[in-house]
Symmetry: D2
Subunit: 366 residues, 4 copies
């Protein structure tokens, strides 16, 4: 099950320390201009070694596109791509061959398959998300033809969090700091916390928020394929994700219907084709599993990275007590680098829903 | 997209006020004893009108099994089933034909399909979940052959919440009160709150928690089909769900790796085949997307029901201002009745993962 | 795997002698006028007991539509339907519980599932095709909105075959005789042969041909989802089908490229939007797996029914020699009744391809 | 839709004259020894330029495996692979940019996608089948763990055909001649015919036959996923295939049930676990869509290659009359090189069915 999506589908392959990772993007609509710059930008946003708060591991992450593009346009045929694995420090992992690292996938892979590539996390490595960023970049190329934009940012690191709603203006500043928090003062505090945690050889969790603007009403299916259910699956498929919520989210538990229902009102704006809007957006842009044309808003909680630069007690594969050898280079906080991955998975999910939505009426236009 | 699952698959159909709702369960393993009593019990747990805190709407919810069972055992062929819609008060909805009820799916269905059955929420009605409870009951029949048990309970209603971890002993008392909260004192406070909210014609949200015990290691896939991603999609597909988290969940954002990693230890119990266990279970029983043999634990947040017994301002389908006519019979809080639905979707998801897991090794046993 | 299709999907359930058979049609486009008369007609075409050359078994085959239609139109939600099993002669089958009938599915079901409903063929009964005819009727309702027509006929029974190409005028006479052969003289000879075979308690095979007119270019996918590969799977899924060919078919083996390539020519007809046509149609309307706008033409070979009114030697489930007890009522030749089923599966496949084809370009119309 | 299979899944990408072709094999069971020699052998069997009866085009076809194998064994994670496109004669195709070659996919690709890579057939090139041979080799590595062997051979070229049943002994000689016909005298006549056709700049069709031995009973699903329906889809997805039949095939049309039913008999062989066998095998090893443990036998008809070394009349993309420029290097008959591709697709289909079959019983072994 290394394929995601129904119409726009991504299939990925590759281990952290194998020859290459890569994938196949199937169902990319024909006739989209290939924007190499956008692809390069998204790749660089995900890349490690960007700042002092991320891992020092260097990955050149050069994507080679192998098919599906002809004379600068997508052809509707599958887009194969690979990224060579260059910066191998496989020796860093030799002592891990028989160790079950706490809260990693070592034990569960072994239990499932009876065999595993132990080097650098193998298939469980977050390096796999690189393929999702490639597919996400292609999805964005298609989505912007419809005016759909996706932007994510760091909302919380440890107990430091944004306390007000981010405006479109705020979001323009997201990429100006290493933590990808639109508010520069909060960003500074987050960065200080991450550096402190890093000095202690520890790691810390956080929350990414994402907003999708320009999404027309009608995306998503009413029962099992609810748009937020698809987004949830997409987000929970990202390494280290522990929770997903949209609109009111977990606060809904404490809410009353009289305070959180979104009333419809006539849309009076002339330059906007929508007949009605909602006064509020507690629904997070999705009602009954289908987008209602308002901003789609959701949040994803990430746990602290399991790899510490501290010794940890655990066992080997035989159950004998041992401890981890703190080595290697790892992020003290995944959240800043998770931001482009959240966007990528959202873009893939949205484009898939948009294409599926073309099939639901007998007379369909656009 | 009215099908859920890969191997064990549920396809549902039916509108709230049509002739019937029902579904097809495909991929049910052959040779399972059909437990009619269990099916009846699960249906009665979901049924409205059970107590003063649920809707007074009566549904007999008589399930008719049409195929797939022969001489008391499942045959491996699809199980078709229907439940007739009996208690029609379609007239209650006649005035709703042109009204866009706030935070319902009226608007989005219309935008998506250009047509909708407006009676009783049509396909968006929570009555559809009845089909999931039927499939969940069959999944439970299969899962218990493997010693896998699934139990959900009400963890929070409004701001009243359980503050300690529920033991297995606690959980035995879940079904003893109308709110399905294992702690009787908390249950009483929840019930009082729900009745108060009901008197005001309002509704309130809450949180359901679920625990799966006896699940072997190895369920779930490493990348897109992570077990928690599948559970997230399953849970977010339930009406009114707004958030999902497992293990540490959103608290992970404030956590440090040094405090929340789950160390492995040798299993010393003689009557337990597992070689290793984890000392703690911050992972919620899932590591790298694959079950590790510990209890699987997750929570689902539900919003307050959108239908109020209060007048609400909104528009009609043309955008003209109007207001809702508070009529009909609705739950002031969906959480107690969501408990068996959460269990059902968890059972369906687990059985699917268990069957899929049989295919991953060249030499497979059990 | 009781679901067929990607976007327009049919899931079926039901055993021959269970309570009912039926299914769920998912992905039916919204806004199609429900044509009850068409559904009734298609059902009556498939029904046994229509003439002296078919089985005397009577099935009322009353379809009950349970959902997905509102005020005479499809709503885009799933269409559930059932057909009660009325004419049970289960006693006819009691002596078959332990017998492995030659060339039936008795043995293979038992080997696969370890259990089987032996009455009337159970799930392997051709009665299941009834559900496909229902879905096919809905597909036809949608396809005719696009001017796509599907017509099948009996081309061969035993060694009696049509020797010239059927014209549109010929095909108007297909339903005028019991064998569904458009040429009345050939039809008479076929009917005589079937009656002769029937008198001997024997059965005979034949070939159904099918033509799809009005299908636009572009249906089907280039690699695994070739339109003819989908049609092949659809047709080979019909009971008793043994072969499939399209266009030149098996004759292609003896052909030379210089004689069977289809040259393109400019289309000079003013009332036809197609720029080019092919001079010949050896391709059967499909090139590179994609429809080219010419008539799609294919043929399906059916074996003689395995149930004879003659005693046959075989074994019981333990391997002990025994013989079949010729009882029950069966068709001496399935071909005439296979005609509407071939059309139904073709319609389902075409509509699915048509809806999928809406997703392949970034700017899509119609 | 560039993915084939349910559990064992192949996704392919790549155009004939792009950077590379390749694919991802997902669902390969863990723990299988990687047999590089077998992979190399299968690749060489498909390779052009093997003899004077195939195209002179040289392809080195060096497969690079990028993931999914660790220390000589499969790990259960996806196997990514690429084959660089080396021998580009893109100039051969420049004059074809605006020409619609007869019976090629030029026109239909353009109609479907609005854009196409015209070089060397692009995505429609038979070079894509290389990826299937890679996946087929992996499938064979897994299948032989179960004693399942797949062998195909050339049964007919033009009007020269095998007239007797090939024995296991015959089949040992299949690879001894360039046409892959097990009977050396027939092979010689076929080769002469192909050379004669080639001299005339023409092409010719033929038939490939395939036999699967050692397949246990129980593979395949009863309704839509019939084993022969899956094989039909697999085979019809191979370039130039025009027809598929299994067991009796099209001859069934002329057959009577009394002559072609397969009676069961007790199996008296001590070294064979099967309780019963069939006396004859008109069923081709499949009954009711499920394998019965006898040899599976089917045939695939291929048309003559559409590319001729003769001038052909046709139009350009605007509908203007023009003619093809006979250039390039092509096979006069695809059948010999189709043999390993038929085997590959059969192997992929069988392994998928075998893995799926593990999920159908509650208590499953092996």
């Amino acid at each position: 099950m290394n394929t995601y999506g129904h119409i726009f589908r991504l299939t990925t392959f590759g281990e952290s320390h194998g020859a290459a990772i890569g994938g196949v993007i199937d169902g990319m609509p024909a006739g989209v201009t290939f924007d190499e710059e956008l692809l390069r930008l998204e790749m660089s946003r995900r890349r490690p070694g960007q700042s002092r708060i991320t891992t020092a591991r260097r990955e050149t992450d050069e994507v080679e596109i192998l098919s599906g593009i002809f004379e600068g346009k997508t052809t509707g045929t599958p887009i194969g791509f690979i990224v060579r694995n260059a910066d191998h420090h496989s020796d860093d992992y030799d002592n891990l061959r028989h160790i079950l690292r706490p809260s990693h996938a070592d034990f569960t892979f072994l239990e499932k398959y009876g065999i595993r590539d132990h080097r650098g996390g193998g298939r469980a490595s977050a390096r796999e998300t690189l393929s999702r960023v490639v597919a996400g970049a292609f999805a964005k190329m298609a989505l912007r033809c419809y005016g759909i934009r996706i932007q994510a940012w760091t909302r919380q690191v440890g107990d430091i969090r944004l306390t007000r709603r981010m405006t479109e203006e705020d979001l323009r500043h997201t990429e100006e700091n290493a933590v990808r928090c639109p508010d520069s003062l909060t960003a500074e505090r987050m960065e200080r916390l991450i550096l402190e945690v890093k000095r202690e050889g520890d790691t810390i969790g956080g929350i990414v928020e994402c907003r999708i603007t320009g999404c027309p009403a009608g995306m998503g299916d009413p029962v099992f394929g609810k748009l937020h259910a698809r987004l949830a699956a997409a987000m929970m498929g990202i390494n280290a994700a522990k929770g997903f919520e949209y609109g009111l989210g977990f606060e809904a538990a404490c809410s009353r219907g009289s305070q959180t229902n979104d009333a419809f009102v006539k849309n009076e704006k002339n330059d906007d084709p929508r007949r009605v809007r909602t006064l509020t957006n507690y629904s997070g842009g999705i009602q009954g599993g289908i987008s209602n044309g308002e901003d789609i808003e959701f949040r994803v909680a990430f746990k602290p990275v399991a790899t510490l630069l501290q010794e940890q007690l655990t066992t080997d594969t035989e159950g004998n007590a041992t401890h981890t050898h703190p080595k290697g280079r790892h992020d003290p906080c995944v959240v800043p680098r998770a931001v482009p991955i959240v966007e990528a998975m959202a873009a893939i999910t949205l484009l898939d829903a948009l294409l599926l939505n073309r099939t639901v009426r007998i007379n369909h236009s656009s």
